[in-house]
């Protein structure tokens, strides 16, 4: 069984919600990325998304754009990111997902990319610029290796949701609001109605992401979904961290405060 399914299933049995955290691979450096994954797991993260830095991250706001640029400037390569995953896997069984823009996969070779990711210990892929119309080829490659290609839905999707979730596995990434990633003060979407709309089309766990600022917002939305995704708020702590030890403990403290309300 895929680690994502295993984890979400066991959480569901105990009435808990999943905490999915995002960091950019290679920011601030590859060693710290590995440590952050392990530290976030200890602090309560259920699934970790590793962002593969890309030169033109269309779906990302300034915080994650800057993280990508920092990691690229420091020379991060896909092979090195696979190494990070392998080293995490020596000690951890936390479900891991790559968030990767399609051109990175396409240029590397979809078969090669997916094969190496699976062998390293990655459980799923999220490709934010690969809508259902374009994903057929990729979906077969990913699922034939026992991984999930996580489907994304948006508040504008409506009747498209049916096709998007068809044949999909893992969880449904529910984009909370129109716009790009980034911490928000408030989310205007009627989350309750939106989550109900998604559940009309699928029994897959629904994870709500984009704009989740911290424990208060997580608490507000926990009852409407099966998990929340927190990215920019964590990446911002990494960006602001002057001292490495201190930064790691700030991230852990933040993650555990969110986990507490879930």
């Amino acid at each position: 069984m895929n680690r994502i399914d295993e984890r979400l299933y066991s959480l569901q049995k105990t009435g808990q919600k999943a905490l999915i955290t995002f960091i950019t691979a290679g920011d601030p450096d590859p060693e710290t990325t590995g440590e952050l994954v392990v530290a976030m797991e200890r602090a309560g993260a259920d699934i970790v998304e590793l962002g593969i830095p890309y030169s033109d991250p269309l779906a990302d706001g300034p915080v994650i754009q800057r993280a990508s640029a920092r990691a690229l400037k420091a020379g991060i390569k896909i092979a090195r990111i696979m190494d990070i995953v392998r080293s995490v896997r020596k000690t951890s069984d936390i479900p891991l997902v790559y968030l990767v823009y399609y051109n990175s996969v396409f240029r590397y070779g979809p078969e090669r990319f997916t094969g190496e990711a699976r062998d390293a210990g990655v459980d799923g892929l999220i490709i934010p610029d690969l809508p259902v119309e374009e994903r057929r080829e990729m979906a077969d490659i990913v699922s034939s290796r026992g991984m999930h290609l996580i489907p994304l839905v948006a508040p504008t999707s409506h009747e498209r949701i049916k096709n998007i979730v068809e044949g999909a596995g893992g969880f449904v990434y529910c984009i909370s609001t129109k716009g790009v990633t980034g911490v928000r003060e408030e989310i205007e979407t009627d989350i309750k109605a939106y989550m109900e709309e998604v559940s009309r089309y699928t029994a897959l766990p629904r994870a709500l992401g984009f704009g989740i600022s911290g424990p208060d917002m997580a608490k507000k939305f926990r009852d409407y979904c099966e998990g929340v995704i927190v990215g920019s708020a964590i990446v911002r702590l990494i960006e602001q961290g002057k001292d490495r030890r201190r930064m790691l403990s700030d991230v852990c403290e933040f993650v555990s405060r969110i986990k507490e309300v879930l």
Binding site: Y54, D56, L58, Y102, P155, I164
Partner: protein
């Protein structure tokens, strides 16, 4: 020529965030209904004629022809359009479509500023709110156009990220569209981006080629041997190429920005030197590294300074229907000065790339041969750059 809407062979597609997929579907539907609606098309043609000043002349460049001692050279004078370039053709079509869809707000990316100016112009006339995204570097080198846009009532956002050029402006415009998709119409300036933009922009630019065909037949009684146009994203070139697609005797030549030379690494020649990738929602030729990171591009002309070509150009290249070559900065500047002095026409630096290649090709042909060069824009905006190169301070 293509089986699936939005695909040109393997190229094109819709590689964009889910949030805008319904908006793209709605746009496609509205576009298809609009172009089939004679009333809409009549209104579009009305503004092309009465506002943009079409048809533009097809001018026989007699002095340049004599100087080069070869093929006869005709210039399609898109520089004579209102706002000074071919961009207005497409903008009028898209803004009328926005109006038809009840959108009150338009956004656009711009490189040299020509598309931004055209969009701000149409927005001013139709009473729409307008916001333009422009790379920081382009804001600096095209200060005059920035001021024109502001005069026209547009808000100009300077984009700092990345290389601060057209690519980054497109990223930011798409991000903004994702966030404001309900009330905002994205007026894409070239035959790039996700479907239906490459098809829609081509159809709003094909007026260039349709007119050229009628004009050259009237003047010479036959089709030209060569059509030459510059390629940034590729809208002026696709606009003039497309109506000749079936005429296999007409050779289509796209001229890319060779910058400081292809081996210098400082150029924007994606069709000549690039590889297949995905950028701004389309699968096409792009300049990228081994891991798909889009590479910085360079050209003396801000309008050609873009790392991807429209997907239909990729298809034309792959099938051999068009040939893609390049002209360096130096060749373009030389052509800029030559055309100015021989014909009294100051071309945009973008268009000067096409002139440069025509100057290379014409002497190798006979006086029986006909070359049409698409003079996509006028060069007023580039005069400062040229003065700088000559060491003249304005």
């Amino acid at each position: 020529m293509k089986d699936v809407p939005g695909r040109f062979g393997i190229f094109g597609g819709q590689y964009v965030p889910e949030t805008v997929m319904n908006a793209l579907a709605e746009l496609e539907k509205e576009f298809n209904t609009a172009v089939a609606d004679e009333k809409f098309m009549e209104e579009y043609r009305y503004y092309l004629r009465e506002y943009a000043g079409r048809p533009t002349p097809l001018y026989f460049a007699e002095n340049l022809t004599k100087k080069l001692c070869g093929a006869r050279i005709y210039l399609k004078r898109e520089d004579l359009n209102h706002t000074g370039a071919h961009k207005i053709n497409n903008v009028l079509g898209q803004v009328l479509l926005a109006k038809r869809m009840g959108k009150r707000r338009v956004i656009a990316e711009t490189g040299a500023g020509q598309h931004g100016v055209a969009t701000a112009t149409a927005a001013a006339m139709f009473g729409m709110e307008c916001e333009i995204f422009m790379g920081k570097e382009d804001v600096r080198r095209q200060a005059l156009n920035v001021f024109r846009m502001k005069l026209l009532g547009a808000r100009v956002n300077s984009v700092d990220e990345g290389t601060g050029t057209l690519k980054d402006a497109v990223n930011e415009a798409i991000r903004h569209w994702v966030a404001h998709v309900d009330d905002t119409f994205y007026v894409m300036g070239s035959v790039v981006g996700p479907h239906p933009y490459p098809t829609m922009v081509r159809d709003f630019q094909r007026v260039i080629g349709d007119e050229t065909r009628a004009q050259i037949m009237e003047k010479t009684g036959r089709l030209p041997d060569y059509i030459i146009a510059c390629v940034g994203g590729g809208s002026n070139s696709m606009g003039i190429f497309y109506p000749f697609y079936e005429d296999k005797s007409v050779k289509l030549v796209g001229v890319e920005a060779g910058g400081m030379g292809l081996d210098s690494g400082r150029h924007a020649a994606k069709l000549t030197r690039g590889s297949i990738g995905v950028l701004h929602g389309m699968k096409t030729y792009v300049l990228q590294d081994d891991e798909g990171q889009i590479m910085p591009v360079y050209s003396i002309s801000a309008g050609l300074d873009y790392p991807g070509a429209g997907p239909e150009h990729a298809f034309f290249k792959e099938t051999g229907r068009a040939e893609y070559v390049y002209a360096t900065d130096e060749e373009a500047v030389n052509a800029f000065i030559t055309l100015t002095k021989t014909e009294g026409i100051i071309p945009a630096l973008e268009s000067a790339h096409a002139v440069a290649y025509a100057m290379k090709l014409a002497p190798k042909l006979s006086e029986e041969d006909i070359i049409v060069v698409n003079l996509s824009g006028r060069g007023d905006k580039d005069v400062e750059t040229i003065a700088g190169l000559m060491g003249v301070r304005l």
